[in-house]
Point group: C2
Chain length 102, copies 2
DNA sequence: ATAATATATCAAGATATATTGATATATTAT
DNA sequence: ATAATATATCAATATATCTTGATATATTAT
């Protein structure tokens, strides 16, 4: 039950829905991409990514200075169905070049 | 997005998970069944049922003095997958006779 | 009509969660 | 080693949610 509530709690937030959907659409993004895409301060982005990771949706891979976040694979069918549902919500997916130097 | 968050928010609570699973297993229960099964005061039960109903999981049918709650049918695949996931959590499902007079 | 039972809603306080700015750590380039 | 960049964590405040007791409404039995 605790794991279930952690999973559900991680997506019970508008900001995290946008971030999760962004990563799901883009494939792989670093924290600074999200910072500039959504114009959020770093500590806020970092905090939400941590919660989504603990919710079982994300994996992180560090390369050089950057931490690249992407959808965890393999993903169980329950979380997959959640991602699909989120993908249908019509959330904004910022595009274009971002400001970070990678 | 608002509907999605309402759905998610409705199951982001331990008490509601237990109640929802109870209804899912029992088929149809009245408010007083839940009161006695979980030893909760009526206002608390009523409030949680309202939230679960607004989350799209429940329907209610009034017959005489009682309001009978059951899983909404037909239920979309997303909410179905959530119910299945909850059913696998091993939550307590109180059994036996309850105190109300129906 | 009155009493008893079932359910819903409101308001207040308690608890949990989100946001922010400041600070800490870690890696890379020079 | 130093500077620059990326990320994580902490503490304080703001905001949202849960619980409870009191009250309101609705139905049934007498």
């Amino acid at each position: 039950m605790d794991i279930f509530l952690k999973t559900i709690g991680s997506i019970n937030d508008e900001t995290r829905l946008k971030i999760l959907n962004f990563i799901n659409q883009k494939g792989e993004v670093c924290v600074c991409d999200i910072e500039s895409a959504f114009k959020m301060i770093q500590s806020r982005v970092s905090r939400h990514l941590k919660i989504l990771k603990e919710g079982g949706f994300l994996k992180v891979e560090r390369r050089g200075r950057w931490a690249f976040y992407s959808i965890r694979t393999p993903l169980d069918t329950f979380r997959q169905s959640i991602l699909e549902e989120i993908a249908c919500l019509g959330l904004e997916v910022p595009t274009g070049e971002f400001e970070c130097k990678k």
